[in-house]
Subunit: 279 residues, 7 copies
């Protein structure tokens, strides 16, 4: 700033003040416009997302508030710096450098936290996971107890509670999104007649399906799945209501075992042929 | 900005305003040209891609709209800054620094999200994967239910639904891109005649192939694949319609087992030679 | 700084000093406002967190003090630089560059330490883990002895003490957050009657449940979990008070074994069918 | 830009315009020279590469066009900025900052895509892999169907189609670059005479080699490869035409097994010595 | 630097020199204050750490000296640059750029070394590990021989010496921080009476505990830990003085084996049920 | 650039041109000096490396040419920019920013390629690997066919050709750098006399060593390497010419087996003690 | 640079030249001081390191020379730039930008090389590893043949030569730093008397220790290490001279086996109880 100090008079000073004031006004006006515009855009975006994705109102409000807060704080930060710089002519390098260092600290130290919140934001926005879903993610399985901004809580079937930072949730398997498959492999003896065994097993399947309302489809014997070391493996596949697959599988296993016994069909133990050799 | 305030007169002010106006005009004109040019180029690129790659019209429109939006918002951002800087002579360091910090935040926190969208863009543009394809990627297998900008949904055969963020999809195996192989290894006894066994098995293959329309090629006995611990392994290879390979393999296994039984050829159990030693 | 040294007079000097003083004042005032405002916001945030999350008063005070310290030191750093730059007109590039290099050093060398403290901050703030909880994290299991800002100490059941840097704690499984499951798989012989065995086992379960007050739910026989190589696997599931699951499981195992013995039901050894072949 | 607006006259304006024009001219000339030079250099480089590496003309033209496009677009980008900056005296910080942010976005979001294209460029330029080669890379094996700029398609032997992004292709094993080895390990009994067994096996090898034209070298018995738990392992090695190794190995296995049978040499089952102990 | 050389006279020169001198003075004073203040703060911090953490005086002095050295060298670096820049008006961009490149080199090349020293600093400051502790870290186990600033030496029980760079030490398990558990699993026959066996084993435990002063708690029979393939597994747990767990376990094993033998209780060999089948 | 346009006369213009010319001269001279000096230093360095490391002349020339090219192109790049900036007073920010973006692109996209060339440079300069060496690196083993700037080709023993990008080559094991060890473990029966067995085996070793010229040292029986489940393991170690180790091992195995047979020493099959128990 | 060209006279020119000369002098003086000071500090540091760490003189000289070279070249680089900038007033942005790009290239392309040299520097400076030591590092074991600045050569016991880039050496296990442990586990029958067996084994240990001078301590029978499936495991531990552990272990194994045989103590084969069941 070059200031020719020798020739200062009132006129000059007033002019200078006028210019300062003008600049201030321009900045404030731009700020006001950007703020109201930004807030409106954010609100409308969330409205649309709520409708399209069927978000609960609570979830949507939480996310909208968070977004508007971040937006407002950033704007105020810019406003302060621009006023200091353009109006009061204060060099703000220090503030900006400080902000830069803070940015770097975020980058390295708190990277995980920021990443958690960003992923959490999307977990809440989308519908990949709801409370009470049975999911597998980040190496854990269990019932979701809470989806938070930073961590998701998953209750294991053994009673443990897994705290999973959202950033660890990339691939997610949701086991509560439709009917499940019941699958049973039964090994029968190489000496038994395959057709007869399949007949017996299909009968059991039909009987169980008739009795159990949680079964949606099948179960059916699909055929010879493998020729094992000691047994011919027959596969049975069915479809059940969600979370009922294990109960159905247990029921089927018991019924199949008893039916095979009743029909003289062997579920064979491991076999071995031995050849004696004189030493 | 050096402003010699002592000698201001109307002429000077007008000249200054004229220059400001001129600069504004130049910027607006450049903006208009770049915008219309850019939009045209983008449209034409998508037109060409649609034709060449056989994209569905819906997919192409979605991608085009996304691209034009991003392009327009970037241009407006530049326009605002350049006008503020060159016309109103406002120092925009703060805005730019702010944009830089946002960039950094993207880099670290939301990196995954950006990466998802970029990969999603290419997944939609190319034809690696369609809805209803049976694919294996990111450690999951199943039928694709939806290819989104951020996540791809894969329905596992057991009924679970895998949400795979697109960035996790790098290697992708598509099992629905042509005919599939049916492969069966059958172990026969070391005492059996190999030629006879192959003859029997080839007969079965021919018979099954004649009956089953989903078989495209073979199946044929290709020969002795291995000399195992207890058996001589014979391999059979055929080609079937897509997704029919398992049914064909099951049918073949059953037919082969029955034919070998009928011809007195043994599928041997594990063997062991015992040498008794007196203690 | 262009200084026309030839025409210096007292008036000029006074004016210059006045401007310097004014700038100084503005900076100090801004500093004072920002400081008192920031401190208040931090205090209020911690108050709210204490209430909402049920933090102990000690934990909250520690975290609040740490936060205010960091905030104050950062402000003083900015104050010094801005005064030097704007008031004394000293070029501070060196200081800023130095701070940048320090930032880089943090980024690479002490990255882990910073990351530890940030994660530690959240571990103390949230309630994922308390002293005396039984947790599994970072590959270690044991009782938490201390949650520090930099490391968490976990006492293994074998007496070893694990020092886990907080940054290593991402997924955390807390085994002290509710009742636990007792699960026992018992294999019975293929020759035994499944219904009778289940009856015997359920009786044992009811008896044990009646005697043991740490059992919350069940235990119950859920059915045939598997058809193993040599046995039919029956599963029993119950719920116990936290940390009592192992004692309950041991008690159940003993009672089940004795009841099965008494009822002539076999827990079978591995079976093998052998077929003698002449050499 | 300091513009003394009070003393403007025609002469000054003309001079200024002249200088602007001169600068414009210099920039355009430099641009023209660099462009024509660069294009020539690129063309010549590809010509040379085509000759030396035996590239197909199609491949070379594709790569050349891509290179020249990138080069031209970069040049135009520079031209525009330099003209705006030096001739029209417009501050281009915003454009450059924008370009920087785009660069950052490339760095993080689209990093994989850029990396794919760069690697794809070299895959096309060099001759590591051709369509119809049988390769192993990125954990997949199969016949190459297409080498693209972004992905390479590999058809697995089971009919699946692997889409491998080029960046995943670092180590690449090409199985179609010369003759292949056929290797067979045969275990004979500890009681058999090694020399006799080797004699029998070498005879089989010679016979097969005489009959099969796809065999290039050997196969020969190389000696006792191991003293196993139950057998003395003899190794046979030969060389065959590319892709014929499996057929030759199958043929050899069958012939060897039959010859050993005919000569009373045993391929032994697992042996075990058992010592009975009274309880 | 604009220097109107035409009108230089003594007065001007003196004024200029005066300003230079003033600036120099300000810098030196700030330097002196910062230095003495910083040194005092560092000293006080270490005093406090020594008291609170019970550091040995030697360790504390080493760390304090290192810290003050680094602090002083950094200050001198800043002093030199600021004097050159502000007093002698020498452009120091080159020095700063050089320092930046050095910083980059640190970042990439010597990153590990810096990281080692930072972690080493905290290893010395905290009390995770002392010389002669038995620790497991970075995949190595052994007795700590030396904790250095860059590497920690661990003597394996087999005599090897592991040099572990401190940066590799993140999770650390210290086995010398309290009493250790002795744990023995003994399998008894399915035919034996569990209550009687537990009685016999508890007697042995009481006897050994009475004789051995290194035993702190127990050992006690906790119950049936598992129903194995061939045995009922009984678990015994006790607590011993640090590093005595192995000796106690060995003593217990011998005594238990002898007592079980004396009472006719079997530690069973693996069992197998054989079913003969005619071929 | 402040240009007082009102008072231009011939003298001023000439002076300005003179200054421009002078600057140009200085730059050109510095350029010439740096270039000739740099080239000489590079040449001398390669001369020395050639002598000291025994590089082939071809290799050295290739590397020298590459180095000088890179050096010259960099210098020309600097020359152009400095002339434009200092002589023609053209602002070169755009060019530099462009170069920066290119640098970034290298950093992310082509990082692998640059890394390949740098490592390739050192692979050629040092003597870790020569064509026809048998090496193991990056998970591949085989005979080196070519060491290129970007990739190294390794021919597997099975005939496949591995293309290994040089950056993947960090640890490298060269099996063609001296004599190799032949190592054989022979298990003898627990009933046999160890001293006698060692005597017999040593005799075989001496005999084979006498007959085979590729054996450099030993082979000798070193003693009882282990007490296995069913056998006492005796180890034999010898040294052979490079690549002859396998042939020697095969020869030794055959000779040892025959000698042990002749002396009635057993290479035992797996043993098992059977205890019959009545059910 | 503002140069009022209209009023140039000899006096002005001389003054300007004088100032240039003065600046040059200051820079040269600072350079000279920094250089001589730096060199002295480096020399003294190495002197001290040599004494304290017992470095060989050769090693120390190599490292000192390298350090001084790097220091001098850096100084010259700074000198040139500062002279060009401050004395000849040439804008050096281009050079600095160039240096920055080179730095980036180092960062990404040659990162490994720089990292190798830095680690190599410390490997030479410290005494973790000497030529002829037997070490395990980076997954390789063997005798160190050479510790270089970039790679370390390790000769495997099988004759292969491992080239390990120094950066791969983080954890390093040195097996040549003191006496080694000899450890033998012997399984005796469950039927044998433990006390008697320990007596016999201890006698053997004492006898071997008396005969063998490479044994430093023990060996002693420490007790019952485990109750295995078929045997009671007795552990023997001793200490031997470095590299003699294997020979001692072999000798002990032979002597123990013979002594146990002589005393009728069984080293048992795997046991199995079998229970025959009628089908």
């Amino acid at each position: 700033m070059v200031l020719d100090i020798t020739n200062i008079d009132l006129y000059t000073i007033l002019t200078a003040i006028g210019i300062i004031f003008l600049k201030f006004l321009v900045i404030i006006i731009v700020y006001a416009i950007v703020k109201s515009l930004g807030t409106k855009i954010i609100s409308r975006l969330f409205e649309r997302a709520t409708k399209r994705q069927g978000l609960t109102l609570g979830r949507a409000k939480t996310l909208e508030k968070l977004t508007i807060n971040i937006f407002t704080y950033s704007l105020i930060f810019f406003l302060v710096i621009m006023v200091l710089e353009n109006v009061f002519d204060v060099r703000t390098t220090a503030i900006l450098a400080g902000a830069g260092i803070v940015g770097l600290a975020i980058g390295f130290g708190a990277q995980g936290i920021v990443s958690d919140v960003v992923t959490g934001f999307f977990l809440l926005l989308e519908k990949q996971v709801d409370v009470d879903d049975y999911v597998t993610t980040a190496g854990f399985s269990g019932i979701v107890e809470e989806v938070g901004l930073r961590t998701t809580k998953i209750r294991d079937f053994d009673g443990s509670l897994h705290y999973v930072p959202n950033r660890e949730i990339s691939n997610l398997t949701n086991h509560s999104r439709g009917n499940m498959r019941a699958l049973i492999d039964i090994g029968i003896s190489y000496d038994d007649n395959i057709d007869f065994a399949i007949q017996v097993m299909q009968n059991v399947c039909d009987q169980v399906a008739a009795e159990d309302e949680t079964i949606i489809e099948g179960p059916n014997v699909v055929g010879v799945q493998g020729l094992g070391d000691s047994d011919v493996v027959i596969r049975i596949i069915g479809k059940t209501e969600n979370m009922q697959q294990w109960a159905v599988e247990r029921k089927l296993r018991k019924a199949l075992k008893e039916a095979l016994d009743a029909n003289g069909i062997d579920i064979p133990f491991p076999h071995q042929v031995y050849i004696e050799k004189k030493d």
